[in-house]
Symmetry: D2
Subunit: 354 residues, 4 copies
């Protein structure tokens, strides 16, 4: 069966309506770009970098409120001190593999430098999960220039999922996984708001995998999977990026980020000790230019007590984003002949029917 | 049908074995005491206080490592600055209703003072959820002396659940709820360890309620509930106390506390804006006396990378603790004739069968 | 020599101009009320409660952004989880003695209840330092009603300092201390803003005491002090409340709160292990009503990169507030005949002259 | 006058005794290595990298407890999520310039990889301050290989200070600065312990500069400085690394890190908005191997209430470390002919004499 999105199978998560694309790009101005590196010589590489670029690319000048939550900190998301102090996102977000955080960090610094904006310093946000099972980490295959390529490729519209960009070599719940996205729309405080999520999923055990609460992984017999299991170690990580056009203050973004963890938990994550479960949420509802210091800025924000539906939307979209990663990813053979099998979609449909 | 515990119905959560009592008191030395106040005159009171007293009551001298996590901070747990700074629990934990935190705080201070231990200062840990739907908050019915009574009543063995102690007037997922407890046993790092959980559950909406992932609340027709729904507002709170005999350092306790939130999430919690979802975990695996300053103390701790099963145990026990609160609680009529119906156990059994 | 404020002695801290009163009440709408309890029978009491009430008393409805920082957490400030989650101050701030936090907590809850505002729940902010050296803690002398009295007494204008309200029985740097206040005015981001500070000072050792950096305490010979030293233990605490009319977001308030610690450090504090050094900053520049959930709220905020002068103002005002507490406090004889001597002002002038 | 250390001038900070070298290397097993890059062609580079390597280089296997505190987060210290979650330092610490964090990050990853330890993943700790005033950031002069060189150069014994390693192009309080170090010895809890500090100082304004409290910077007339002032912008940053052989748990290390900020505050820092004031403290008193998961680990720790002298030591050593950086640094001419003048030592002696 051809790879698909979860809803192509007649399945879904939760009850809230999706945006038109059911993707993080449903949030206005949010672009996604992938740079995928698949090499068999001289080293086997199954890796890449994915960038999320708000403000139609002008996040360098239109700074947005943002917040971070860590479910389990065995991972990296650079720029953390800046995000905690200011609650501001001042550049694109990049997600890559563990060994190439440094190169991607330098790539973002160089990209900003090349723009010659007149203000130079910034603390890039680079997050990672480890593709070392399928991809040869020692290749250090992602270089600063690849970030430039990913930024150039960033666009609105449908988002490629599965074995692409930073997600190229990733596995989740012992199946092939990678990049996934989803969105939800809610109405609250007199407005209609979109919440979009993008995940790079590389965590979890098979027997913990659940679909909208129902156990799935424990019901898939090993012999029904078209190939050996992916790395069954209790490790890996998941990065979740939450975007919304709902106007939110930094602390409110941080609260959204924590709810991404509840979504991970419902799919079967436990914030395992070897996992880097790092979540970032940003709001496009207010933009300001940090270097402008001549007068006070203004911001709007949803009432704190009205955020219930926003939280529910983050949870649902995170769950569905992970499932879209699992459904879109294809079988992959990586270094040392290691195989990672995609979840069998026919079987999934069958197991998920009531 | 007589009220029961979840397992009396042939139902359960997850896969890990329970301790002998399936209760927080399976962790050696942990005592639980309830003081329940039910009055109809002059004001309608459905309230109380529950204390958790580690070290067979000698927590005043045998200080334990502890950590706190907040899923949503619309609630109170006093002593927070001390717990964050030192990661130490230096007295009993009390859980009561929102309006009576002050009285219970004074009660704990007086109890310590009366013990004449020679060192006086401490920052009591008092947490709360709001029973103002069924109980008249303006009665301020819980007084400092009730804390003394609860401490005196504290014992090991089976724990009363449901409409008792701090949980007397509480509701969860629009059913009558209150106190619940559960435990799990795991083997890791060369040892066998017990994880026990006690919840005071007073949060959530009916249609979000899930049993081990499966939707339950959304499948219970209103007409099948023996009485009107409890307060259906998107508010309330849940306090979770996690105890373990696994030796853990303060940061590790904090990590356990965060996993309680994943358990709440799996039952259907979202950390709603009006909710105070506050979790505290402590380890009985090391005790030291803070006032002893003559030489370094020693501690043992489980390897960080071995905590996976401990996290899974916290999640499962939290889920089952909430379900035990729901199953044990009985119908209650409170102030202004308000009724809160217990979840119908026959129906629950029926819905939960595969 | 009659007790005075620091500037009455021709001394001062730093370089920024003060507000008209050099007090926290220079920030528009901020009221301060003291209730002082001095009893010799049946028990010796030197205690009280001080309240800070923004919005000319209407803080119950006009909620303000706020943030907290802990330099050393051996102390209590209730309401912490709420402040961290929402960054909002929703009621008056009360400061009292360690043993009476519970009574003051209940007092604030009762006061709100009596106002019959239609929304009832809140998490009072009650902070403390320990007056147990001079005052008999076992008296539990401060009762809920005293909070009502303090709130009723709250007013704008000059603030009583020294042995008054919550500061009645406090000592700092081994001299009599208590309540102190100061303010600064700065111009930044196109506006003129006032920063006011109120401290309840009860921390520190004599030999660490500094005036605008210059060592003072180590140069005061014991025999020149009119009475025995106050409790020279390396304990005690300091509460600092920072108010400003500069429009700030919650994270920005939190950053101000941390700067209060730098002021304490410059006077000679080290965040000693036995000390509860807890700081809260709030901004009157934006008010919103949390219960209003029908549409987004708006807020203004100073540019993050323009906050330098605001930080400097917090540091200076904190230093001078502590010094005002020391200069205003008078000799006190407390329980068991214990004496606490005020710092000799003549000697201070002499030592501080260049 | 030849450049010196503060004590060579007959000046000092505080009252505690120093270790034999008055350097971070007084803490047993702590090595420091510098790689300094000074180029005039093709681009002007005044930059470098400094590494702190505990456990005589075997920090890769002997993991140490550590903690981080942020005074102002306008800066980068990677590895933050890991340090917060586990409180463990699992590799060397590197400090460099803002633009070269990525290259140094990759350098550390490559160095670990080359060691072929059998466990590969780690989150390097790379901190930075900005040398872009004197050094051409666009050169990206520090490459991954320079980290290897710095690690190879790491040794015990006296530490080069001033214009060296990561500190090469840095300025503080408008004078040339860079790397500085100091140490203190204290006796507490039945033992004698050493606290060592290393700073990379690049922050502050001239008129805020203080020596042990006494104002210095405001008393140095511009015309007495042998050259134009360094960059007088209210920006820059300071990284402080605290090492101690006192056995401490992670939360205790975090508390030490916060005290480094009090030291910065006493020298004249305010945690200015443009500053990245990031502090890390680690303890060599316990080492464990995180990958060893077969049984519980053990640790010793100083009693929390005995840490007062340790805090005082951190504050004093931080102050003196900054002053050592100022005293050791030499005049430097950087890009675009910019000059940064060292603080005149004769004048300093004169101003500092009572």
């Amino acid at each position: 069966m051809k790879r698909a999105r979860l809803r192509d199978l007649g399945l879904s998560i939760g009850s809230l309506p999706t945006g038109p694309l059911n993707a993080i790009t449903d949030v206005g101005g949010v672009l996604v770009g992938h740079e995928t590196i698949i090499l068999d010589q001289p080293r086997v590489v199954r890796s890449g970098v994915t960038v999320i670029v708000p403000e139609n690319g002008d996040i360098w000048r239109n700074h947005l409120f943002a917040g971070v939550h860590v479910l389990n900190g065995n991972g990296e998301m650079t720029g953390g001190a800046f995000l905690e102090e200011f609650g501001v996102l001042a550049g694109p977000i990049a997600i890559t593999s563990t060994h190439t955080v440094g190169a991607v960090y330098e790539g973002l610094v160089r990209c900003k430098h090349d723009l010659d904006l007149g203000f130079d310093l910034f603390m890039p946000v680079v997050a990672e999960t480890d593709d070392g099972h399928l991809s040869d980490s020692a290749a250090f295959a992602i270089r600063p220039d690849h970030v430039h390529a990913a930024l150039k490729a960033a666009r609105s519209g449908a988002v490629l999922e599965g074995n692409v960009g930073g997600g190229t070599g990733m596995n989740a719940h012992e199946f092939k996984a990678g990049i996934g996205t989803a969105s939800r729309c809610i109405e609250v405080a007199g407005g209609r708001w979109t919440i979009g999520v993008l995940v790079q999923a590389n965590y979890g055990r098979r027997n913990e995998l659940r679909l909208d609460g129902r156990p799935i992984g424990s019901r898939i017999p090993t012999h029904m999977v078209p190939g050996p299991w992916a790395n069954p170690k209790d490790e890996g990580s998941i990065i979740v990026i939450v975007a919304t056009d709902a106007p939110l203050l930094p602390l409110q973004c941080k609260r959204l980020a924590q709810r991404a963890g509840l979504g991970v938990g419902r799919v079967g994550g436990t914030g395992a000790p070897g996992s880097g479960d790092l979540f970032l949420a940003f709001s496009t509802g207010n933009a300001h230019f940090m270097e402008a210091v001549d007068q006070p800025h203004s911001a709007r924000f949803l009432p704190d007590l009205a955020l219930g539906p926003v939280f529910a939307a983050v949870i649902e979209a995170t769950e569905e984003g992970i499932w879209n990663a699992l459904c879109a990813a294809e079988d992959m053979i990586g270094q040392r002949g290691r195989r990672s099998a995609a979840i069998p979609l026919d079987l999934l449909k069958q197991l998920a029917s009531p």
